[in-house]
Amino acid sequence: MASMLLNTMWSGSVRPSRAVWLGARSLSMTAQLQAQVQTKSKKTLARPGVKNIVLVEGVRTPFLLSGTTYADLMPHDLARAALQGLLHRTGLPKDAVDYIIYGTVIQEVKTSNVAREAALGAGFSDKIPAHTVTMACISSNQAMTSAVGLIAAGQCDSVVAGGVEFMSDVPIRHSRKMRKTMLSLNRAKTLGQRLSLIGSIRLAHLSPELPAVAEFSTAETMGHSADRLAAAFGVSRIEQDEFAVRSHTLAKQAQDAGLLQDVISFKVPGRDIVSKDNGIRPSSMEQMGKLKPAFVKPHGTVTAANSSFLTDGASAALIMSEEKALAMGYKPKAYLRDFVYVSQDPKDQLLLGPTYGTPKVLERAGLTMSDIDVFEFHEAFAGQIMANMKALDSDWFGQTYLGRKSKVGAPPMEKFNLWGGSLSLGHPFGATGCRLVTTVAHRLQKEGGQYGLVAACAAGGQGHAMVIEAYPQ
């Protein structure tokens, strides 16, 4: 099916983009049709005595390649832009939320609680507490589910959750030796002590320490692990390149068709207004094939073009109890239902979070794979997505590692990441989770489905999955 879809794309790519979109549109209409015909395991996931929690709105700044238009900002600036976009779109009074939570991965040391700095800067009331969470690529998922938890526990009625990542500037430190010398210098009392400390500085002290891109526990970079994972599941270079091209092609179509309504425009100080993601680059298989492997050399399969790229961006979502949302006159977009976090071997299964999370969350919700109309999986690497597909589709893997009698089954490609994904839209680590959930809500509205599934992998060998139910239109 995937290749069929791609063929359509390919023959379409020479035609005007509108025509391509029509092709894809007809596809989504089929899905819509199917959704109506299919009988669901459950009509709704609403449970008596359990609060309904809804997504009122979700927005994000355009996701930009790091080092481009956002280059001179700070992380809280991006987060602030997302928050202001949310305020603007919802018309939410600035004191009407109970709490603000942000997810982020690489922390700017000056704004380690970036949630608070951004909230204050965005003009939210200073009476609203805010905290920052970190859980690698599922940080904003964690922010959202923390919000769900606060509401479910009756602590809050209305919470803003989001995420931000800023890779144009990362904290580069002095070496440990240098830091030690500098700290001792602070404590030195006499000139003699100071001079002797300064004199002890050697060339080696001056080499800086970059933030590690490697997994701390295994010292392996994520790209390397992804390459090994792809190899373990026998994912070929061609399969990966095809999937990457699909992601970029679908993203381009969605962008052109104006489907990415979660994107807000952002006037960057000193620069123009930014209103589009800038990493979407559909290219030919031939161009893709020219790239050399980026991590495992010379025989690896993961390249720069079939991996997600370093991205700057922020997202924000307004989450409320259904009662509160209705009382405030909002029309919610979707219900946030069951969710799970999973974790596994950070070496050999670093990026298999979706495979572990999917069956677990479906079981919790009492749904089956066929109940899901919309799939949005985080695309860290094309090879990682394909490996997860193969893992979900393997009886051996299901029996050996998931404790099941047989395979889970892979999501059908015609329901999968139809508006592009992290490979093409970009992946600001801390902000992606919100984008996934908001996209599911928008796609459910657009395609007329009832249930959507978000799944993502994260560094540390962790993962997340969440079921989202369409809000009756």
Partner: protein
Amino acid sequence: MLARTHVSYELKDDVAVIRLNDPTAKVNTLTWQLQSELMAVMEEIWANGAVKGAVLISSKPGNFLAGADIKIIQSANSSEEATGFSRQVQKQLEKFEKSPIPIVAAIHGLCLGGGLELAIACQYRIATKSKNTFLGTPEVKLGLLPGLGGTQRLPKLVGLPEALDMMLTGRNISADRAKKMGLVHQLVDPLGPGTKPAEERTIEYLEEVAVGVAKGIANKQVPLTKEKSLMQKLQDTVMGLGQVRKMIYKTASEKVQKQTKGLYPAPVKIIESVKTGLEHGTKAGYLAESENFGKLTVTSEANALIGLYHGQVTCKKNHFGTPEKDVKRLAILGAGLMGAGIAQVSVHKGLTAILKDTTEESISRGHEQVYKSLNTKVKKRALTSFERDVTMSNLSVQLDYSGFQSADIVIEAVSEDINIKHKVLKEVEAIISPHCIFASNTSTLPIKDIAAASKHPEKVIGMHYFSPVDKMPLLEIITTDETSKDTLASAVSVGLKQGKVIIVVRDSPGFYANRCIFQTMAEAIILLQEGAGPKKLDSLMTSFGYPIGPVSLSDEVGLDIAAHVAENLTKAFGVEGGHSAHTILSDLSERGFKGRKSGKGIYLYEDGTKDRSVNPEAEEILKKYKVAAPPAVSSDSDRQYRVVSRFVNEAVLCLQEGILRNPVEGDIGAVFGCGFPPFHGGPFRFVDSMGAERLVSIMRRFEDVYGNRFTPCQLLLDHAQDPSKKFH
């Protein structure tokens, strides 16, 4: 044509994938069968014009090819026969080297000896970065040399210094290191599980990559030689100078002489073969290699070392069945050097351990000992800091008995005082669960005496580790008449998990190893009294082949501990005239001369200097006990044999008394626990090769002067009377 059972091949496009798989063994070795099938397969492939390349890979999970079959070497009746074998394989490997199509060796697991020699005859080598992938030429450890072209190809491949180092030490080389040295061209990461188990998929992946490379070489996309770095070019130029090579041979020879005292012929022959090849051409080199190989195979040294190798393999198996309950949780009493050492080898192998002592200082010191050993590995990059932390999380140091209720085995390493042993045994027995074993790491106290205080004597056993525990491979397990079979099986399984070579002996004072060492020590003390001089005595014994002389050994062990052992064993076996070793050792240690740990023993230990001098105060004490040296038995050789014969006689006596189960374990215990010269293969092989009759006649001569401490035991006499009787 006979059906092939060991080697098969299939075509993947235009690449032939040749699979090695000996169906009769867990590990592939270069047997006649495998080798002839491999050659037949190669001839077929070479004859097939459609085949553009070949991949050589093993179907066995943990090994490529672990070496030549030792049976071939052992079954050679003469050096000519062995030389013939070497010549034949050399010629076959020459065909590999000159293959018209590229052959890629795809290596996962062990690639040793003949396996490596086969691999380096191929055009290209790819290895997995697995923790179990090792390349090396361990022949020297068996008293042999790489006789299948290794001494000729290795220097060309990795350079003279590296090649000599590899062949003279026989050490295993990891995949990463092999890549850096240029021993392999390319590395492949081991994979995790996919839609099939990790190991299976890794081998498949290795094959896929290798097939790709073979195709690449065939159509000239993959170069066989890398552009050399400036450094390498420089090195090559330097190595091109005859004078430099001469220097290297000289340095290597001197080092070998210093370390082996000229007792091991193999290293000398290795240097000789390499030199012949480099200085007089490949043809002469191959000839020298095969002739030297032939000569070495029939030496007593090779025979002894091969015997030790087989013995070690036997002693790394559990001959007592699977324990009823898998032993996973250890509790160790006493956080001293021994206790912490036992904890260290346990947690390192994935067991969990509680380390208990009575004071905060001692548990802190014990914890530091374990941490330091792991951290040293981190510094050497043999371990990641994360792995160190996870390993450390399996260790708990504490002052109380909490957690003992879930221990599967308690090992006590408290002071060598029977009352303290009884006290802790009773305390522990009040807490532990019924299945838990109580093991004592005593070095001399009889296990049955310790067990006397136990409510469950069938659960009591001796586990005698050697210090330092992480370096000394031997574990002596001691059973009493009451020890149950399952207790024994469990103790052996723990020892094997800790990576130990195990001998199982019956309870008796000093068990086996210390009983024999005691004889050596006692004679050494008498020799000191006779004025042999500590340095002279040590050098006499190291030139006999001991890794460390008896005086240095006493200092290392600690003179107080040696005194204690001597006291117990003197009590058990009686004293033979004059001042006993115990008296003299106690006298020394009471003056504070306790050996290395106190900075002063019979030698002086100063930080920063390796050259140690004799402690003059200790010498004074020794003078107090001076006796005259009888000239008839005081030549250098006599002095050596006085020490050695007492050791050997005691070992044979242990077999006679049924303390030892068999001569194999006796030899292993002596070599790995007591430092008996490895090239003699252990006391029993020593008697076999020297002849019991000759040994007895020497001992009789000593007996005439000194009396019964040199009286040969009955079993030795039996062997002397009937030369057809052999221990092996």
